[in-house]
């Protein structure tokens, strides 16, 4: 409390921060990391609970009995697919299925321009340069008899997955069966929209954009002729087969957004009631729930969730709803061989329960958590629990910055930071005492003398460095598109051009310290201290801001970048420092964490070389999708890395390679004497 008013305690604080800096930093980091990892252990996290009383999932009595419709429709759709040989979606047939149930059925056509030059070289330049996708979404609205179409719930399913080419005909079958069942009931107070999406995320985005009439220049779509009210929640359904062994629940959405925990609880609860096992990231809940193996399992689940969330890419169609403040999850039915399976009947009952509970909602989801991590399907770590360890890790950066700030003005070039400044201070104050012989010299006077005697860091020298780094960041943020444009001229493949653009600037800017050294800058120890202090402050701000928006990204960056960046100092052990710095560069982080992800998910190990190649390909696709998603879906992870994290990192990189000049302090004093 007294920090502001009591200069004594303030001084004491800064003295402690400076004197015991390294141990404090080490302690803060270790405690932070251990604390955070411990959160995955059962006694340190909490059991999930329903915060929204209106959901009443226990009161729903399942009456779903149209599972035969589900099998019939999914079989019919499969046959159509076989006939058309994976052609476009059979729109007319889908429309008929929904219309036959008496739903208000509409279609929406769209054309998405992906700002990637088409692989097949078109002769005309200009518009045709880009890849375009067109598709048709079909949706049917079941109008609620109890309300004036003011609210709606969505049940969506992708027509098929374009990456894996898996068909989703079972999901459509179940969807139609549910629609047939729901139509018989008169208790609906919210419209239910059944939506079959063409082309995964792009189709979903097209529909949502048109529904909310938020236009993007790259996505053109025909207007929706039928709408309902404000969408309260959405469930996305993916089924690999008509018999599933468990549901894999996908939560992570666009830019690391998560659905309200109540919705997740609801789904988990109803699956449990129908005895369908639930998994998160294909990880089962540990049994017994306590003990070392359980902790490892929980930690694995939580790490996978964080790794997914950090990418900022939705891992299902539900992820796109979240931007519009519509709570949504994806239920992926997975058939695991050798396990007990369930058919449409129980899956239908789960979904019926979910929809009837959502129908009970009186207000939008607002009660439970929006920021959380799940170590198991029934345990959660809330924002209040995971932020303190993150804060401890960031404290390292802050402490280092404070120590450096205090140490600015130390004449001796060698003690780089902290510790000895106390003595200097003492000497200075002694000097003033001697010189003026008065006991009431103001403290300000002391500092003034200090600044005169010893050169503080040259603040202006920061400007060119920071500017250079930011320019490099800006170039790397725009270079993928520039390179694709240029690559078109040199007839390189567009994807290669994107990769070149994204990574080229990174590798080019590794040589920046050389340019900076050549440029004559005042580079006393103090200047470098000031540089690093500024870099650390900037880093703390970037990490804190990132963690507020996408916690996992912030945390993963902090865990690796903070210790390395805190240790960096010009001169000594340059090679080792360089290696470490490269490891925590945005590019290095991507490799490290992709490696970690593969380590956690891949069960088989094929030897060093094939694994390395596999890693490289995954990294390649990650960069590619990061860049393209940024343009198509509006994820900001690539921009964040390019515009904020990368320049900051480059700043540190420059500090590592900066040569220290002769301290200016001496020369100034000499001048004075002369």
């Amino acid at each position: 409390m007294g920090l502001l008013s009591d200069p004594k305690s303030r001084e004491r604080f800064s003295r402690i921060a400076a004197k015991y800096n390294s141990p404090l930093c080490f302690l803060a980091y270790v405690v932070g990391v251990v604390w955070f990892l411990a959160l995955a252990y059962k006694p340190f996290n909490h059991k999930t609970y329903f915060s929204e009383n209106a959901l009443l999932p226990g009161l729903v009595e399942g009456k779903f009995r149209t599972e035969n419709t589900a099998s019939r429709i999914s079989q019919a759709m499969k046959e159509i697919k076989n006939v058309t040989r994976d052609g476009p979606m059979p729109v007319a047939w889908v429309v008929n299925q929904l219309r036959d149930l008496g739903l208000d059925t509409y279609t929406q056509e769209y054309i998405q321009t992906i700002p990637v030059p088409s692989a097949s070289k078109s002769t005309e330049l200009g518009k045709d340069m880009f890849v375009t996708l067109n598709g048709t979404n079909v949706y049917g609205i079941l109008r609620a008899p109890r309300a004036a179409s003011t609210e709606a719930i969505v049940l969506s399913a992708p027509y098929k997955h374009y990456l894996t080419m898996d068909h989703n005909n079972h999901a459509f079958g179940l969807m139609v069966a549910l629609a047939a069942h729901f139509r018989k009931s008169s208790y609906w107070s919210k419209d239910i929209i059944f939506l079959l999406v063409d082309y995964d995320e792009i189709g979903m985005e097209a529909w949502l954009q048109e529904y909310h009439y938020t236009k993007s220049p790259l996505l053109k779509s025909s207007p929706l002729h039928g709408r309902s009210g404000s969408i309260q929640a959405a469930i996305n359904l993916e089924l690999n087969s008509d018999q599933v062994s468990h549901f894999n629940i996908k939560l992570e959405g666009l830019n690391g957004l998560l659905p309200n925990l109540d919705l997740v609880n609801l789904v988990v609860q109803l699956c449990n009631r129908e005895r369908i096992p639930v998994k998160l990231h294909k990880q089962h809940d540990p049994f017994p729930p306590e003990g070392w193996p359980a902790f490892r399992q929980n930690l694995k689940t939580m790490s996978l969730m964080m790794l997914h969330q950090a990418t900022g890419m939705p891992n299902g169609l539900h992820g796109l709803f979240l931007r519009y403040h519509i709570e949504a999850v994806t239920l992926e039915g997975v058939l695991e061989p050798g396990r007990a399976t369930t058919g449409f009947y129980r899956m239908g009952r789960v979904l019926e329960g979910v929809f009837r509970s959502l129908n009970n909602l009186l207000e939008r989801f607002h009660q439970s958590f929006f920021f959380y991590l799940l170590p198991a399907s029934d345990r959660y770590v809330s924002i209040g629990m995971y932020m303190p360890p993150f804060g401890l890790i960031l404290l390292v950066t802050a402490l280092k910055a404070i120590a450096l700030w205090i140490s600015i003005g130390t004449p001796d070039p060698d003690p780089w930071e902290g510790g000895e400044n106390v003595e200097i201070e003492r000497i200075q104050s002694g000097k003033t005492e001697d010189g003026q012989g008065d006991n009431t010299v103001s403290r300000r006077g002391v500092t003034k003398i200090r600044t005169q005697n010893y050169s503080n860091g040259d603040g202006w020298s920061l400007v060119p460095v920071v500017a250079c780094c930011q320019v490099a960041g800006f170039i790397s943020s725009v270079s993928p598109m520039v390179m694709t444009g240029l690559g078109h001229l040199f007839s390189t493949k567009p994807y290669q051009a994107i990769i070149t653009g994204a990574t080229g600037m990174f590798f080019a800017s590794l040589f920046m310290p050389m340019c900076i050294t050549r440029y004559r800058l005042a580079c006393t120890v103090n200047t470098l201290r000031l540089w690093k202090c500024a870099a650390l402050v900037l880093q703390a701000i970037i990490l804190a801001a990132t963690a507020a928006a996408n916690f996992s990204l912030g945390m993963l960056m902090a865990v690796t970048m903070v210790p390395v960046c805190a240790m960096v100092r010009p001169g000594k052990l340059r090679f080792l420092q360089a290696v470490l710095m490269l490891l925590v560069s945005p590019f290095g982080l991507l490799i490290v964490y992709t490696g970690l992800y593969l380590l956690l998910t891949e069960t088989e190990y094929h030897g060093v070389f094939p694994s390395a190649i596999h890693l490289c390909t995954v990294v390649y696709y990650n960069i590619l999708s990061g860049v393209i998603h940024g343009y198509v879906l509006g994820t900001w992870q690539y921009s964040l890395l390019a515009l904020a994290v990368f320049p900051n990192w480059l700043f540190f990189w420059c500090i590592v390679f900066k040569k220290r000049d002769v301290p200016v302090v001496e020369t100034k004093e000499e001048k004075k004497k002369s």
């Binding site: 409390m1 007294g2 920090l3 502001l4 008013s5 009591d6 200069p7 004594k8 219309r99 036959d100 149930l101 008496g102 208000d104 059925t105 109008r143 008899p145 109890r146 309300a147 004036a148 179409s149 003011t150 609210e151 139509r183 018989k184 009931s185 008169s186 909310h212 009439y213 938020t214 207007p223 002729h225 039928g226 709408r227 009210g229 404000s230 931007r323 519009y324 403040h325 009186l362 207000e363 939008r364 607002h366 009660q367 106390v422 003595e423 003492r426 104050s429 002694g430 005492e433 006991n439 009431t440 010299v441 403290r443």
Partner: protein, 670 residues
């Protein structure tokens, strides 16, 4: 109308005579008439529309007195007394009240007989002589609220407007009935839930109640288990005869429902009175002049159903090239003594096959655009599907004050991007917590086009007491209203006509058909604080205030001064005690001055040995106090750095300014 005007005599005697005559007249030979009608229309989309209409017309004398009410109602016979007295009291000339659940789907069902906004909608023309319209409106809404068990009493200035273009009188409006535009009041309550508690008082207004006649079909459990149901009470002055030399007061009570048989009956479209009203008709209301059931069998020409029992007659009507076939059951002529009541039964030969019916020539959709809790927009799509005719429409939008509408963002254009210039724009800006925004546009919709009317608004941040208990549910914006006159009647269920009852509309031909359409109500979410966490908020705010205020207060109210640290240096035990908040050693002067300050200022140590003697209680707490100075030195001397500092540096001591004299004495000591 002119004849009525003349009746306001100018000489005293004729007035008296007139009044006498009137009283005599009403007492003796006032005639009133009651008729009940039911129209059943099976839609192509599978739903069945049942529209009940109960009309009471009363030949009231509208002469009125100078400055007094235009009519006085006495000696009620068929006209409901409860309503009549309210209408007389507040001098209502024309009143339209609808209570609706669900939304009429124009693109599937065409146009309803009476269009109604979801929720409650009330619009009233007051008589010209009413001086304080707002007062009368306030009274009327409260009276109707009690009468119909609806929350109409929540209508206040924030939801009431006076549209100039959209709601013209539907009854007579000339002569004695001429009125001022300012005498109209319009309000909606889009959130009003309509159910059986509104139906019960409504059906009590009927002469036969629900004991017999068509109203016997009202079974609340069934009526509200439908896709759409709407109650209405409409009052207006109408012509008494064809020459319109005299006027009478007409009260229409309407009830419409749209049932959805396929959803209940395993996909079958069959419909019967017994199934959907859970009873059949036992006879007409004895007080009714006409009691008829019409069934629209036009659809029967293409997709067939059998209608049982045989209708009294089948009538063909034809307006503007659009023909319609109606089966009519006249309840007065129906042989109830032979049959066990009348149970109109439609049996479809095939199971229902849904076709997307072609939407009507003119319809409208409205929705909210954008996302987030800061700004938003509203867009209406006005469809004119006529291949070659332009259509002039009046579009009215009533926006509550908490969605602050920006007129400069108003855009009217077709989907092709052609700007449609409004012929007239009437805009009445709202003000916070006072009045809503009102926008009326007169537009010409190009043929075969979709016109977009859009504007954006800012969401207001309400005061915390203004949020309803379910703040996160959202806030409703009432329907926009589209008013126009159509030249063709083909999308009307019953074309509107001047005469009373359904019969007039069904069997009279006209060239102009006035139409009113209501759009969807909208649900928007306003920025809502987290009400579930007041405790957290209080804790957080208090902590922040405590930290900031405490520090700043200390900083600004204290005086800083240098003291010799060597002298002022306390012993380590004292420090320890200080650390645990027990540093109670203060100078005697301090004690005298302000004993309460001591704990706040623990840094102030005094080495005066006399202190212990003054305060013996301290001794036990801090026994090593006397010899603390040398002991302390020896203890800390191993740390040279700190020691040096202590020797050389001045320390700042803090004092509160009220103790200047003490400070002086301190200095003297040094």
């Amino acid at each position: 109308m002119a004849a009525l005007g003349v009746m306001n005599g100018n000489a005293l005697f004729p007035v008296f005579l007139c009044l006498f005559c009137c009283v005599f007249h009403t007492g003796a030979s006032t005639t009133d008439e009651y008729s009940e009608e039911l129209l059943i229309v099976p839609f192509r989309s599978g739903q069945v529309y049942s529209h009940f209409e109960f009309t009471t017309s009363w030949d009231v004398d509208f002469a009125g007195s100078e400055g007094g009410p235009r009519y006085k109602l006495h000696h009620f016979r068929l006209f409901p007394r409860a309503l009549g007295q309210v209408l007389t009291e507040y001098r209502v000339q024309e009143m339209h009240l609808t209570l609706t659940q669900g939304m009429w789907q124009q693109d599937k069902w065409g146009y309803p007989v009476v269009s109604a906004a979801p929720g409650a909608e009330l619009w009233v023309w007051f008589q010209q002589e009413v001086a304080d319209v707002d007062q009368a409106w306030f009274g009327l809404t409260n009276a109707l609220s009690g009468l119909f068990c609806a929350s109409l009493n929540f209508i206040d200035s924030t939801s009431t407007v006076t549209p100039h273009l959209s709601f013209r009188p539907q009854g007579l409006a000339g002569g004695v009935f001429s009125t001022k535009p300012s005498h109209l009041r319009y309000a909606t309550l889009p959130r009003e839930n309509v159910c059986t508690e509104n139906l019960t008082p409504w059906k009590k207004l009927l002469p036969c109640s629900t004991r017999t006649g068509l109203a016997a079909l009202f079974h609340a459990g069934q009526l509200y288990n439908t896709q759409y149901s709407s109650l209405g009470v409409h009052l207006r002055p109408v012509c008494r005869n064809d020459s319109c030399s005299d006027a009478s007061l007409e009260l229409r009570q309407v009830l419409s429902t749209v049932a959805d048989p396929p959803s209940v009956l395993n996909g079958k479209q069959d419909w019967s009175m017994k199934r959907y009203f859970s009873r059949s008709l036992s006879g007409p209301c004895p007080l009714a002049v006409t009691s008829r059931v019409y069934v629209d069998v036009t659809v029967n020409q293409t997709s067939s159903f059998t209608l049982k029992p045989e209708p009294t007659q089948v009538k063909m009507t034809n307006y503007q090239g659009y023909s319609r076939q109606l089966a009519v059951y006249d309840l007065w002529a129906f042989p109830f003594h032979k049959e066990h009541g009348l149970n109109v039964d439609m049996k479809w030969k095939k199971e229902v096959s849904y076709s997307q019916p072609s939407p009507p020539r003119l319809y409208v959709h409205r929705f909210v655009t954008g996302y987030g809790q800061d700004h938003g927009g509203i867009m209406s799509l006005l469809y004119n599907r006529h291949p070659y005719m332009e259509q002039q429409v009046i579009y009215m939008e009533l926006i509550p004050w908490f969605t602050r509408m920006y007129l400069h963002t108003l855009k009217v254009e077709t989907t092709e991007g052609n700007v449609v210039q409004p012929l007239l724009t009437r805009y009445q800006p709202g003000s916070d917590r006072q009045s809503p925004y009102l926008l009326e546009l007169v537009l010409t919709l190009p043929p075969d086009s979709t016109t977009r009317v859009s504007f954006s608004f800012q969401r207001a941040f309400l005061k915390w007491t203004e949020y309803p208990p379910d703040a996160n549910h959202g806030f409703y914006i009432s329907s926009a209203v589209l008013t126009t006159i159509l030249r063709q009647a083909d999308n009307f269920t019953v074309p509107p006509a001047l005469g009373s009852g359904l019969q007039a509309g069904l069997f009279q031909s006209s060239t102009e058909y006035p139409l009113r359409l209501h759009t969807e109500t909208l649900l928007i979410s306003l920025p809502t604080p987290d009400f579930s966490m007041p405790y957290n908020v209080i804790c957080l705010t208090c902590t922040v205030i405590a930290i900031a205020f405490g520090s700043l207060h200390n900083l600004t109210t204290r005086r800083f001064q240098y003291t010799d640290l060597k002298k002022a240096n306390p012993g380590w035990r004292a420090r320890l005690a200080q650390l645990f908040g027990r540093g109670k050693q203060t100078s005697p002067e301090d004690k005298n001055q302000d004993p309460g300050e001591e704990s706040e200022d623990p840094g102030e140590e005094n080495e005066d040995p006399g202190e212990e003697s003054e305060d013996p209680g301290e001794e036990s707490e801090d026994p090593g106090k006397e010899n603390d100075d040398p002991g302390e030195e020896s203890e800390t001397s191993d740390d040279e750095g700190t020691d040096n500092i202590r020797e050389r540096r001045k320390n700042i001591k803090t004092e509160s300014p009220s103790r200047e004299d003490i400070l002086k004495s301190d200095k003297k000591d040094r």
